[in-house]
Every structure is written in structure tokens, then in C-alpha cells.
């Protein structure tokens, strides 16, 4: 049901993108709703990441980008968990706007590849090669372990018997 609903809305968004004329119909409204969902989610995610980074600077100092590492880990876990829970047959029924709010919006904005790349580059510029290598290796391990654990946990919840959440 979820995937059918999803592909239908994707098809309408695709049609809206292809049509040259402005035809304010259902497709355009769907598209506006999706962009609003992504924008709001990303706003919340980006601000949360900034707060995590400020907290990490205050608590752990500027020597290592713990804040970005923590945000990327937590965001990867959350997207793995949520994707599993809202898959067809999952415990949570979510429409495409809710899915995009959480996944493309919040998780997308909470995590960041550009700041990760910049921080690695700055470590290299400071000639701190071992720290740079550690940052990349720890990040890759954290991202993939987190998304995998989130997904596994989500499927375990899906298989639990009982009332719908």
C-alpha cells in the first residue's frame, strides 16, 4: 500500500517536472507539499546538527570533529530504522510527505558530507595525517554500522506481534 502510494506520487511529481506549462493542479500541489516537507525537515535537522557541533566544541574542544561524526552516526541510524519501519508491511504507515520529511528532510539535513570532507581536508592541511585517516575510517565504520543496526532493529520491531503503533 505504501509503495503503491509512493510510486503514484512519484509519477505525478515526475509529470509536473516534465510539463512546461504551469498547471496548478494536484501534481503541483503534491510537489509543493513534498518540498515544504523536505525544507522543514532539513531546517530541523540542520539546526540540530549545529547544536550538536556547538555542544561538542564546548565539551570536547576543537581538536577533533566529534560533532559531525556524532550527527552523521545518529542520522544514519535514524534513516535505517525509519526506512525499515515504513517499508511495505512495516509497523508504521507513512505517506510520501511524512517519509520525505523524516528521510530526505531531517536525516538529510542532520547529516552532512560537505562538512565531513572539509574537516578531513583541514586535518590534512594541518599535516595531521593520522588524525585525518582516523576520522575517515571511524566515519565510514560509524555510518555503515549505524544504518545497518537501525535497519536490523526496525525489522525486529516489524516482526513483533501486538497492536499497531
Amino acid at each position: 500500500m505504501d509503495s503503491a502510494e509512493h510510486s503514484r506520487s512519484n509519477a505525478t511529481v515526475g509529470k509536473a517536472a516534465k510539463s512546461r506549462r504551469w498547471a496548478p493542479g494536484r501534481a503541483a500541489r503534491n510537489s509543493v507539499v513534498l518540498y515544504a516537507a523536505v525544507g522543514l525537515g532539513s531546517m530541523a535537522g540542520g539546526v540540530t546538527r549545529a547544536l550538536v557541533s556547538i555542544a561538542s566544541l564546548e565539551l570536547l574542544g576543537p581538536a577533533f570533529p566529534w560533532g559531525t561524526l556524532a550527527a552523521n552516526l545518529a542520522g544514519s541510524f535514524l534513516i535505517g530504522l525509519y526506512a525499515a519501519l515504513t517499508e511495505p508491511g512495516g509497523r508504521i504507515f507513512a505517506g510520501s510527505a511524512q517519509r520525505q520529511f523524516v528521510m530526505a528532510g531531517f536525516c538529510g539535513g542532520f547529516t552532512t558530507f560537505s562538512l565531513f570532507s572539509l574537516e578531513t581536508f583541514q586535518l590534512i592541511l594541518e599535516d595531521r595525517w593520522p588524525t585525518a585517516v582516523f576520522y575517515v575510517a571511524a566515519s565510514l565504520l560509524a555510518w555503515f554500522a549505524a544504518v545497518w543496526l537501525g535497519h536490523v532493529w526496525g525489522w525486529r520491531i516489524n516482526r513483533l506481534r501486538g497492536k499497531d503503533i
Partner: protein, 136 residues
């Protein structure tokens, strides 16, 4: 300005950049995905590599004191917009999906290509703007 007001103002700049950056990612990754196809996550790679290039350029401009060296401007453009324009969560999920499908070659290609191109892009962006500043 009081510390609290300064922090709040900084967060407002970041919030504005974040909303715009997320929507720009949604647009660009969707466009690339529709044009090239969704079997390999080219859309996510396109935003991540272009965002890495842009943040390298932004960092060089900020270091040179040309633009973006003020905290509000950096928050809007870098922490907010470029931070949210790129993503690790979709990258992780798409790599996991490739691995779960047994496409280990494509999964490792996605990881290697994203890392190498991302780091090259940030260095290129930085070098390009640094050269312009020092050449001028």
C-alpha cells in the same frame, strides 16, 4: 550583543540555509536520478561532490577574509545551506541497499568514488579560490 541573542541569531541564519539546502538537494538529486536512472545513486553523489567543491571554495574565501568570514554568513552558506545540501544518511542507506542486494561491487564503488571525488572536490574548490585571492 548578549551571548544568548548572538547564539539565537546564528541559529536563525543556519535554519534559513538548512531549509534552502535541503530543498536544493531534493531538487538536484531527483533531477539527476530521473535523468540517469536510479540503479546506482548518482543523484546523491552529484550533490555530495558538488557540495564538497562549494564548501572548499567557501572555506578559502572565508580564510582569505573576502566573504563568508562573518559567523552569520558562514552559518547561512556553509553550516546551513551546504551542510544540508549534502547528505550522509541517504548515502549510507543506498550503500546498504546495494550490499543487501548482493551488489558488493557497486556498493564499494559508491563508497570509494564518493570519498575520492569528495576529497578531490573540496581540495580543488579551496585551491581555485585561494589562487584567485592570491593572484588578485
Amino acid at each position: 550583543m548578549a551571548v544568548g541573542t548572538e547564539l539565537l541569531l546564528g541559529l536563525i541564519w543556519i535554519a534559513v540555509g538548512s531549509a534552502l539546502g535541503g530543498m536544493a538537494r531534493f531538487f538536484v538529486s531527483g533531477l539527476v536520478g530521473r535523468r540517469i536512472g536510479e540503479t546506482f545513486p548518482w543523484g546523491t553523489m552529484a550533490v555530495n561532490v558538488s557540495g564538497a567543491f562549494a564548501i572548499g571554495a567557501a572555506a578559502a574565501a572565508a580564510t582569505g577574509g573576502v566573504v563568508l568570514h562573518e559567523p552569520g554568513a558562514w552559518g547561512l552558506a556553509a553550516t546551513g545551506f551546504l551542510g544540508c545540501y549534502t547528505t550522509v544518511s541517504s548515502f549510507s542507506l543506498q550503500t546498504l541497499a546495494l550490499a543487501r542486494d548482493g551488489d558488493w561491487l557497486l556498493a564499494s564503488l559508491n563508497v570509494t568514488l564518493s570519498l575520492v571525488l569528495g576529497l578531490c572536490a573540496v581540495a580543488l574548490g579551496f585551491a581555485a579560490i585561494a589562487a584567485m585571492i592570491h593572484g588578485a
